[in-house]
Each structure stands twice: as structure tokens, then as C-alpha cells.
């Protein structure tokens, strides 16, 4: 059933429209003198906070070798199941195993950072590289080489997620010459 609504009769000022136009112009004018909320991306880059969870990288050690030992702890921790690792033997004297393949499906990844927390070797890290662009799905699956390349590109970055976490983490072993310990504190971390 239709309802008949009577249109209100507009006043003269309203019928002229001009006062409303001027009011709008004044608002625009006021904004010219306020602080800008937008930025000229990509000419201007946003400064991201420390520990930002952007694209992953695979860290390298002092000798420029991959740090990862293919223990798959990150893959276990990953809630999106986006990490695939296959190990192989290495001839290096200080470790047995390195990854032959290491893939992160960036389309599946939810950037939660659990992989970085899980890593016992500080081998995987997250950077402030946020420009994840590709034209095919395959390109968005980052392999070992792509992740190592991201390390080279972000080598100088301060405050990656891994660095932030390491700073907040309790020491792995107690200092030497420690007193005989009491009963382990609940939730206390550490190893042998």
C-alpha cells in the first residue's frame, strides 16, 4: 500500500541554493589549512613501526650462507599451512641439513609471524617489504631464492620482527656460574 508523503515547501534561501554552496566551499577551504591525512605513495613511503609483519626473508649468517636447517618448526607453527620445506644434506662442518626447497605461499599466508617466533635458528624473519605484487599466482609462491633475495634487499633494515622478538625473549641459557636453581618456574623458557 502506497503512502503519500507531502513534500515540505522549501524556504527562499533553500530555493536559491547559494547559502549551501558557500557553506560547502568554506568546509573545503578549512581543510586546506588542516594536517594532511593522505600521502603521495609511492613517491613518499610510510615509515612502518618496528616488528612490522611484512614479506618474509630467509636470513643469512656471517659467511653469507643460509641459516635455515630445515627443521620445519615454522611449517608446524603456521596456522595457514603455507610453508613447504624439503631438506637436504650439506657439507658444511657446523650443520647437517639445509633446505633444498623452501616455499611460502604468500597468497595463503596471513602474516601472523608465528613462523618467526617458532624458528630456533633465527633463520626466518619478517621485513617491512609490503609491496607484494605479481601478475600470476605462481609468482606469489616465494621460493628459497626469492626469500634469500629479500634478505639482500632488506639487509640493513633495523627492527625486523625477528630482531624485536629476540630482544624481548628471555635468555636461552642462564649465565655461567649460576647458583643451583630452585624448582623450574612455570612457563620458564630455556634449554640445555
Amino acid at each position: 500500500m502506497a503512502i503519500v508523503v507531502e513534500a515540505r515547501k522549501m524556504t527562499l534561501a533553500e530555493r536559491l541554493y547559494l547559502p549551501a554552496v558557500i557553506k560547502g566551499m568554506l568546509l573545503t577551504l578549512a581543510h586546506l589549512f588542516k594536517k594532511k591525512v593522505t600521502m603521495q605513495y609511492p613517491e613518499v613511503q610510510k615509515i612502518l613501526p618496528p616488528g612490522y609483519r611484512g614479506a618474509h626473508r630467509l636470513n643469512k649468517d656471517e659467511q653469507d650462507r643460509i641459516k635455515c636447517v630445515a627443521c620445519e618448526m615454522c611449517a608446524v607453527a603456521c596456522p595457514a599451512d603455507c610453508i613447504t620445506i624439503e631438506g637436504m644434506e650439506t657439507e658444511w662442518s657446523d650443520r647437517e641439513k639445509i633446505p633444498r626447497t623452501f616455499q611460502i605461499d604468500m597468497l595463503r599466508c596471513i602474516f601472523c609471524g608465528m613462523c618467526v617466533e617458532a624458528c630456533p635458528e633465527d633463520a626466518i624473519d619478517m621485513t617491512d617489504n609490503i609491496e607484494l605484487v605479481a601478475t600470476t599466482r605462481e609468482e606469489m609462491i616465494w621460493d628459497r631464492e626469492r626469500l634469500l633475495k629479500n634478505f639482500d634487499e632488506t639487509r640493513d633494515q633495523q627492527g625486523t620482527l625477528g630482531q624485536v622478538l629476540r630482544k624481548s625473549r628471555k635468555p636461552f641459557t642462564r649465565p655461567r656460574g649460576d647458583q643451583l636453581p630452585g624448582p623450574p618456574s612455570p612457563g620458564g623458557s630455556g634449554g640445555h
Partner: protein, 536 residues
């Protein structure tokens, strides 16, 4: 039976049993490293120490693995002294342990990890430098990561007690002790890879399972080893339709805790084989790939023309000792009902070497897993009748189950099969048997099969599929069922469980057998006693 007291509670357990096993039966876990139910107790790791009442009111520390239960014994498992001791032992064991869990293949099934988590102190007080002895190549299958070893000596006792070869020993003294072989005598016996299974830590590892995906990824499939007629119970570890490792599954009546190296590593030959991907049909003297309907038409019309031309008994069937009882039964049924023939044969593998370990573990001479079962189903245990039939011209066509990856036909058999008018073969690769055939159906390998097999003792055991058939291959039972249907006979279901029920009503010795009864430990057919002593 004996009544014992554990932490002020009374339990009734079997007398004479060792305390670790008795407690395990009660659901109480006593941590231990050196004790293994398949080996004699040694008491060297000291992890299983518990308190026992040695005089009224007075408790003393004892090793659980060497204690035999007697009536009236009184134990304390959770007293401060026991808990303190465990913590201390864990600390000692971890002194020189490298803690390389991230790249250790044992991580996830490591006793040291488990017990350290449950009983360890959580951090180390050791400030000196850890000893780092290099890793050693012990033999063709085994590598020793010397740093990870806790010297429980399960491996040396295995070589002394089970194989009787005594290759391994402990050299040096005190903190420098390590497991070693004698100069120029590698750990090379028929069961050497078992030491990697019983090693409670990641010290002894097989070269076959090194730097592989982590152990928690694998799907475990309980099945049988297809390597010989002993029919060792095994567990396959499967990932992405590929077998990564075979481990023996405990069955006291068959293989104990062990299996031989040949059987353990034989999965490579099967899964790396160049498998038949589609049916083949002989066209102008040459085998060509064809579709399933084409091959089925060719098989059925070929069989019909033999039967029409030469009479009912002109088609024979030859079973396979690689195939399950159910498949061989379906084949004999096809022979009896569709071909009207009673000439059956079994294509046996030539015998290999038989071997018995010091402890009584047997490797059978018969290198096929189901010769006995196939013989029971077919009522034939050789090719004699078939060869005679071909010789005197009464058999003009054959339906042969192949399916052995290492199949080679003896020349006289190849010559006889060459005289046939029509030959249908199920096989897994283009063997010299398949090469003679007019129609070849691609069948399944034992790791893809569901069914039962009968080992040399006469024990009927379950076979479970680890993954689906490769490519265009099909289960042999399903192929036989379809051929039977096309020949116009009622084959019944092709589900192996249903076929076993049918077998139980028709084949002597198999009465009353069902999948439930066979279970995961198997059952003797006809209620027989084992005809051969059980393994180690």
C-alpha cells in the same frame, strides 16, 4: 599372579614379569632407555631406577628392568629420591648431547626429548666444553652420530643376542666411551638396520632415512612385507603417496620386533619401478597401449574363441604368490565357473637363500609372500599340470596373474607359454611374462593392495594399501570381477572383506575367517599350531 604395591596402591600382576612391562600393562610408564622388550635387560642407563622395599620399612633404589615381580613386593615410583634421581640421570645424559634436534631425524620420536621434557630440569648447568666426536660410517645401511649417543648399548646387545654377529662394541673408557665396530669389520649383517629402530636417540640412523621430512608428517599404514614367505608385520610411513620408511611391527608369533634389511628396503624396487600405465593389446604382433574397454573386449573375445574352438577345458588359470588370497580365489573361481576348467597352476618364484638368526628370526627361502595362501586357493602349488596340458595340447589359452617386480620366466615356461593361442596377463611392469601376452592388464603392487596373505607358518595376515594404484593400474580383484561379469558369471562383490567371507565358507582351513578375526596380528588358518618356530 602376584599382588604388589605401587605408591601405596595394590595391583595384581603376572608373577615373574619384569617391572617395566608389568607397570606398562597397568598404564604406568617408567622412563627407560636401555631396556627393550626384545632384548635381555641390562640396567646400564639408570633411568628406570625406582624404590623397592628391601627390608620391612626400608626402601632401596633398584633398576626396574632387572626386577622380576614376586608376590608382596612394594615399590615407590614417585618418591622424592626417585624423582631426584631421574633429574640427575637426565642431566648426566645431556652433558655431551649436542641438542641438534632441529636437524636430527629422530626428533619427534626421541626418548631423550620425551624424557627430558618430562623429567629433565629445563636448562643446563654444564659450563665446560662439550665433547664432539665425529660421526662414523658403521656399515652399508647405518651411520652413527657419535655425539648424540647415550651409550645405552641396545645396539651392541642386539648384535650379540639377536643376530649373533657381535660387530658392535664400546671402546675407550669413562667419558670417552663410544660405540664402534672392529677395524675392517663393518656392521653388515642381514638385520643391521634394526639397530636404528631400537636406538632410543638419533645416534644410529639408516642412510635410507636421513634428512627426510619430519616424522610427524607421515601417515602410518600397517601391512606386510612382500619380501619373503615369513610375512613380517610392518608399518609403512607414507607421505604424498610415497613410502619413506618401513619399520617392523611387533608380532611375537611371526617376526618379534625385527625385520631383515632386504625386506625393509625392498619398497624402493617396487615404488621406483617403471609401472604399466594402461592396458596393452597385441596388434599385428606388437603390444600397443589401449583403453580399458578395448582391452576387456579383446580379452573376452580371445577367451571365448579359445573356449568355442577347443572346448571347455582349453583355458587354464595360473595364480600368483604375489597376489592376495582373495585375488587368487577370484581367479580360481573365474577358472571354474567361466572357463569350465579345473587346470590351475601357481607360478612360483625360484627359491632364494634361507637364513635363521641366533635368536630364531627366519628369512624364508621362498621369496614370495603368499605362496602358501595362493596354493590353498588354487589347489595347485606348481606349474606342472599347466605345462603338461600345454605339452599335450589340451590347454590352448591361459589367464595368468603376474605382479612380481623381479619376475623372470624360466626358459621352459617361456617356451611353453609361447605356444599358446591366447594369453591374458595381469602385471605391474612390462616383464618377460607380459611380453608374451596377447592382453596385459596393469595390476597393483603389494603396497597398493587390500586383502589377506598366508605366510609359511600358515598364519593369515592383513595387507593394507599405502596409496591408490599408480596411473591407470587397477586392483587385480576388480579386473577379475569385471572379466567374470563380461563372461556372464556371477562373481559377487570384489570387496576383499566380502571375498574372505566367501572363502571362509568354501576353502578348507579358512573356515570362519573374517577381517575382524584376522585383525592386525593375523590368525592361524584352521586353528593349526605354527609349523615353524616363531621369529626372534
Amino acid at each position: 599372579m602376584a599382588t604388589i604395591t605401587i605408591d601405596d596402591r595394590q595391583y595384581t600382576v603376572e608373577e615373574g614379569r619384569n617391572l617395566i612391562d608389568a607397570a606398562a600393562d597397568l598404564g604406568i610408564d617408567i622412563p627407560h632407555f636401555c631396556y627393550h622388550p626384545g632384548l635381555a635387560p641390562d640396567g646400564n642407563c639408570r633411568m628406570c631406577l625406582t624404590e623397592m622395599e628391601i627390608r620391612p620399612g626400608q626402601f632401596g633404589i633398584v633398576t626396574s628392568c632387572t626386577i622380576r615381580i614376586k608376590d608382596g613386593m612394594n615399590f615407590r615410583f614417585n618418591s622424592p629420591a626417585v624423582l631426584d634421581n631421574r633429574k640427575g640421570i637426565m642431566e648426566f645424559l645431556l652433558i655431551n648431547h649436542p641438542l641438534d634436534c632441529p636437524w636430527c631425524d629422530q626428533a619427534g620420536e626421541c626418548k631423550l626429548q620425551d624424557h627430558s621434557f618430562d623429567h629433565g630440569r629445563g636448562h643446563s648447568r654444564f659450563v665446560e666444553t662439550k665433547r664432539v666426536p665425529p660421526k662414523k660410517d658403521l656399515g652399508p645401511h647405518i651411520t652413527l652420530y657419535t655425539t648424540r649417543c647415550i651409550l645405552c648399548q641396545r645396539c651392541t646387545r642386539f648384535c650379540d643376542e639377536i643376530t649373533g654377529t657381535s660387530e658392535l662394541g664400546v671402546v675407550q673408557m669413562g667419558s670417552k666411551s663410544e660405540i664402534a665396530t672392529f677395524e675392517g669389520v663393518p656392521l653388515d649383517n642381514k638385520m643391521s638396520a634394526n639397530v636404528a629402530d631400537i636406538c632410543p636417540v638419533g645416534a644410529l640412523v639408516t642412510k635410507d632415512f636421513l634428512y627426510k621430512p619430519r616424522i610427524w608428517h607421515y601417515e602410518k599404514v600397517n601391512t606386510l612385507c612382500p619380501g619373503c614367505a615369513t610375512g613380517c608385520n610392518t608399518t609403512l610411513e607414507v607421505l604424498h603417496q610415497k613410502i619413506y620408511r618401513t619399520r617392523p611391527r611387533h608380532n611375537e608369533a611371526v617376526n618379534g620386533h625385527w625385520m631383515c634389511d632386504e625386506g625393509r628396503f625392498c619398497y624402493h624396487d617396487w615404488q621406483d619401478a617403471d609401472r604399466l600405465q594402461s592396458p596393452l593389446k597385441r596388434v599385428d604382433g606388437e603390444l600397443r597401449q589401449v583403453t580399458w574397454p578395448d582391452a576387456m573386449d579383446a580379452a573376452v573375445s580371445g577367451i571365448r574363441s579359445v573356449l568355442d574352438g577347443e572346448g571347455d577345458s582349453a583355458m587354464g588359470v595360473v595364480g600368483s604368490s604375489m597376489a592376495t588370497n582373495e585375488e587368487n580365489y577370484l581367479l580360481s573361481k573365474l577358472g571354474k565357473e567361466a572357463f569350465g576348467s579345473s587346470t590351475t597352476g601357481l607360478n612360483r618364484k625360484p627359491d632364494g637363500e634361507a637364513w635363521t638368526s641366533k635368536s630364531g628370526f627366519r628369512i624364508a627361502a621362498d621369496k614370495a609372500p603368499n605362496s602358501r595362501g595362493a596354493g590353498d586357493m588354487l589347489g595347485a602349488d606348481s606349474l606342472d599340470d599347466i605345462l603338461r596340458g600345454i605339452g599335450d595340447g589340451t590347454i590352448r589359452g591361459l589367464y595368468v596373474l603376474g605382479g612380481d617386480i623381479g619376475q623372470t620366466l624360466p626358459p621352459e615356461v617361456a617356451e611353453a607359454f609361447g605356444k599358446l593361442d591366447f594369453l591374458v596377463v595381469h602385471d605391474v611392469r612390462l616383464s618377460d611374462l607380459a611380453d608374451l601376452a596377447d592382453v596385459v592388464f596393469p595390476g597393483a603392487i603389494p603396497f597398493e593392495k587390500n586383502g589377506t596373505m598366508t605366510n609359511a607358518q600358515g598364519r593369515v595376515q592383513r595387507l593394507n594399501p599405502a596409496f591408490p594404484q599408480a596411473g591407470g593400474a587397477r586392483e587385480d580383484g576388480a579386473i577379475l570381477g569385471y572379466v567374470g561379469q563380461r563372461m556372464g558369471i556371477e562373481m559377487g562383490g570384489t570387496d576383499p572383506a566380502e571375498i574372505l567371507e566367501e572363502i571362509s565358507g568354501r576353502v578348507e582351513g579358512y573356515g570362519g575367517l573374517t577381517y575382524d578375526l584376522v585383525g592386525d596380528q593375523g590368525v592361524m588358518k584352521g586353528g593349526e599350531e605354527p609349523s615353524e618356530a616363531a621369529g626372534g
